[in-house]
């Protein structure tokens, strides 16, 4: 018997034109939480998919309990006791929670699905996880955090011995992450081995006992978490040292650009007021579902507020759709790059010029030559790592995709740039670059609203911080008075009260 519950040796996976994994290795001890880290594109997700049988490696061997295994498909892995919770919840939005949990291994008697047994079983699992929703609820109506919980319940329902969590905290707020940590502890106590992928160092320190780092499709090393420092890890992941993470420049704060007064939309947010000045970065934080995104969406005309007023440079705005907002100089860079930010199958150039193509067109006809020049300039101005402007957006890493999204905003005279979770799922190196761009924009006199759940990011970049909770603004802090604790208190205010009853 091997001491490892799972061991992979010399794994190589080739996609058309790309070596996604190059001779990597990995060992998992029974009952340990093992962090897997690396920049985006380092091959972590592919590696996970090799373990779970979704992809088949060209070379290499995998051992489970010392036995060589060869998974033909996800089903084999499931049966072997390996379950994965993927980065984007792979749920069925139209089906109930119980069905999501039991998909593929329903409780069946005489070829009949036993619904009541399934609901009961699912509720039992959810209770264990301390969930606040019923197994009969429709998946699509749950929050991202709740959906993640369902995914974990799903992994547990298969009695998995190895659970892989792929960036589980990426879309979770702090308190939700805390809940997840407790859950992982709980699983560990039950003897489950866990592979944990995350960009957040705090996750790793809190949970993992060992960490394996991948870089550029290669195995870099495995280190015990005790005694390793951020700097060491970053160096291992990025291959170089990052000196300043949050390059906040000193900027002269200008006049007030955007003012929002008493904005309300039933069911989403109520009576929200704030303002942002030129050269200022206004941080907006709070739990996911606190209504941050919904507020800025209403400001930009993506949805419509029922009450309240929006002023730009003291002029009242009546915005019905994003096009109006852009006309006035307000642009929202949405959170979901793949669905809302970019057209993934299109070339970078076209993506960048999409909001502005009307500006330089001649008689409604597109000026191709000018478009190419403009798009190259824009892409270079945010330092996008790309070969040419024709390559599809899907070929870029997350960080570079985010840069392209930012470049879209720079093609025209903008006054207010709203960034919704600009560093979500972006690796450390790209994050730093992103912050640099943000600082540069502030320097140029843009008013910036930064929505983020990441506390260090908010504290590091924002001049002022608006905290929201459950659809209301619960506080506004200046940079020097803000601390993690105060922000947490404010963002939990209502939630805390609700939890009490």
């Amino acid at each position: 018997m091997s001491e490892y519950i799972l061991e992979l040796k010399g794994i190589t996976k080739i996609f058309p034109g790309v070596k996604a994994l190059n001779n990597v290795q990995f060992q998992l001890l029974p009952g340990e939480v093992h962090a897997l880290m690396g920049e985006n594109g380092a091959g972590k997700s592919t590696f996970i998919k090799v373990i779970t049988g979704v992809h088949k490696a060209e070379e290499g061997e995998m051992f489970l309990d010392g036995q060589k295994v060869d998974f033909k498909g996800p089903k084999d892995a499931q049966e072997a006791g390996i379950a994965a919770v993927y980065q984007h919840p792979t749920s069925y939005p139209h089906l109930t929670v119980a069905e999501n949990i039991f998909m593929g291994h329903e409780i069946v008697k005489n070829h009949m699905i036993q619904w009541n047994a399934m609901y009961a079983e699912a509720n039992k699992l959810l209770e264990n996880l301390d969930a606040d929703f019923d197994a009969r609820a429709e998946m699509g109506t749950l929050s991202v955090a709740q959906q993640q919980m369902v995914e974990i319940a799903k992994a547990m329902s298969t009695n998995a011995r190895i659970i892989i969590l792929d960036e589980p905290t990426a879309s979770l707020t702090r308190s939700e992450s805390e809940k997840l940590y407790r859950l992982v502890d709980h699983l560990k106590e039950d003897g489950v081995s866990i592979i944990f992928i995350s960009h957040r160092f705090e996750d790793m320190y809190r949970l993992a006992s060992r960490v394996t780092v991948f870089r550029d499709s290669q195995y870099i090393g495995t280190y015990p978490v005790d005694g390793i420092t951020n700097e060491d890890l970053i160096k291992a992941m990025v291959g170089r040292e990052i000196t300043t993470m949050y390059p906040k420049p000193e900027v002269e704060i200008g006049r007030e650009m955007l003012r929002v007064e008493h904005l309300s939309r039933a069911g989403y947010f109520k009576d929200v007021s704030f303002s942002v000045r030129a050269g200022e970065i206004l941080g907006m934080t709070g739990l996911v579902g606190a209504g941050r995104t919904e507020v800025v969406e209403a400001v930009c005309g993506i949805t419509h507020a029922e009450e309240g007023k929006v002023y730009l440079e003291d002029e009242e705005l009546h915005i019905r759709k994003p096009a109006d907002a852009m006309q006035k100089g307000i642009i929202l860079l949405p959170e979901d790059r793949q669905k809302e930010g970019l057209i993934m199958s299109w070339g970078l150039g076209r993506n960048v010029t999409l909001p502005t193509m009307g500006k330089y067109a001649k008689h409604g006809l597109n000026d191709n030559k000018k478009e190419r020049e403009i798009s190259r300039d824009l892409l270079e101005s945010v330092d996008t790592k790309a070969v040419d402007i024709f390559q599809p957006a899907s070929s870029l890493s997350g960080g570079n995709q985010q840069k392209v999204v930012v470049a879209k905003a720079l093609g025209q005279e903008m006054k207010v740039v709203i960034m919704d979770e600009p560093t979500k799922g972006v690796d450390v190196g790209a994050k730093a670059e992103m912050y640099a761009i943000m600082g540069e924009l502030a320097k140029q006199g843009y008013a910036i609203i930064l929505i983020s759940s990441e506390m260090p990011e908010i504290l590091g970049m924002a001049n002022r911080i608006v905290v929201m909770c459950n659809g209301r603004k619960t506080g506004e802090l200046m940079r020097d008075e803000a601390t993690q604790e105060i922000i947490l208190d404010l963002s939990m205010e209502k939630a805390g009260r609700k939890g009490a009853d």
């Binding site: 792979t90 749920s91 939005p93 069905e99 593929g104 069911g267 947010f269």
Partner: protein, 330 residues
């Protein structure tokens, strides 16, 4: 975690709203013409729409995985015409054998459609448009260029459509059996739930080990099977087989499903919804001449009513969504 009150569950469910619309329709029509709400009239309503009702089940499956099938009525014509000609020239007789043959032809047709869609990734609307032409042409070709098989040529085959079993017409029994079976199939079997899973999130289904391609193949084969059954029913009910049977009828089936709340983008829809949708459509069509709308204006009213039903459904949905939001605590 408290359970929703019964009243809230009824008003919140799409099916309940549809049932309400159907009951309203019944009341209005009965107000105009009391002979509408008699057992024999209602039986006739189902019998005369049996084909659409049965095929709505297949369309439900197809639409659940985000597809659409406009070749169904060509499949119906092909299978119906095939048994018509076989009966006419005395190659077969009786009731069971023609049914089996029609269903077998339907399965083959549906299987081919499914193959093209699942294996060659042809968008369903294009693939089925192609097969619509192909199967219809084959129907013409096997009819010897336009022969019909009439009541006397069909022999005893069409007797089932006039025979009663336990007080109900056999055609209605077939419809009932189909609906009961599919209710069970879609709700209680793994395969049924897999269809929902594929429609709800194909990538996730793939990752969790469901063979998405085979499910797609399966739903189009089911659709073909029901089209074949529809062919036999059509020939039986009207005691006549013609190569241009039910031309354009696929749109009625699609409309029935959409009225019944089946989403065209997949994932959402229930057997009850398909039943109510096809009943609403059938009632509209049957009611138009009864409430005194002139022959020439009937089509216009039918179109307007379909539009009204789907739009009203959307508006009700919006209102209920808004109310749900208003109820959210701030």
């Amino acid at each position: 975690m408290e359970k929703k009150s019964l009243w809230k569950r009824i008003t919140g469910s799409r099916e309940a709203l549809l049932a309400l619309i159907l009951i309203l329709l019944f009341i209005i029509v009965t107000g105009f013409n009391s002979s509408f709400l008699t057992p024999s009239s209602l039986q006739q309503l189902i019998k005369n729409n049996a084909v659409t009702m049965v095929m709505a089940l297949g369309m439900l499956c197809v639409m659940l995985v985000g597809g659409i099938d406009i070749s169904i009525m060509s499949t119906l014509a092909l299978s119906g015409m095939a048994i018509g000609m076989l009966l006419k020239y005395d190659y077969i007789s009786g009731t069971i054998v023609p049914f089996i043959i029609a269903i077998a032809i339907g399965i083959v047709c549906g299987f081919l459609v499914g193959l093209v869609i699942s294996r060659a990734d042809v968008p369903p609307i294009i693939a089925t448009m192609g097969f619509m032409y192909i199967y219809r042409a084959m129907g013409y070709l096997i009819s010897n260029g336009g022969e019909w098989a009439s009541a006397s040529a069909l022999g005893s085959f069409s007797d089932f459509a006039t025979t009663k079993f336990l007080g109900l017409n056999c055609v209605i029994w077939i419809v009932i059996v189909c609906y009961v079976f599919f209710y069970w199939f879609m709700k209680w079997t793994r395969t049924g739930r897999k269809i929902y899973a594929v429609g709800s999130n194909p990538e996730a289904a793939d990752v969790s080990g469901i063979n998405v391609k085979n499910i797609k193949l399966l739903v189009f084969t089911i659709m073909g099977l029901l089209s074949g059954l529809g062919g036999a029913l059509q020939v039986g009910i009207y005691a006549s087989a013609m190569p241009n049977m039910q031309k354009g009828g696929e749109m009625d089936v699609i409309a029935a499903c959409v009225i019944g709340g089946v989403s065209m983008s997949g994932g959402r829809g229930t057997v009850i919804g398909a039943l109510l949708g096809s009943l609403i459509l059938a009632t509209i069509v049957k009611a138009l001449p009864l409430v005194g709308i002139g022959s020439l204006a009937q089509n216009t009213f039918k179109g307007v009513l379909i539009l009204v039903v789907v739009v009203v459904n959307i508006i009700l949905q919006r209102i209920s969504d808004r109310n749900a939001l208003k109820g959210r605590e701030m």
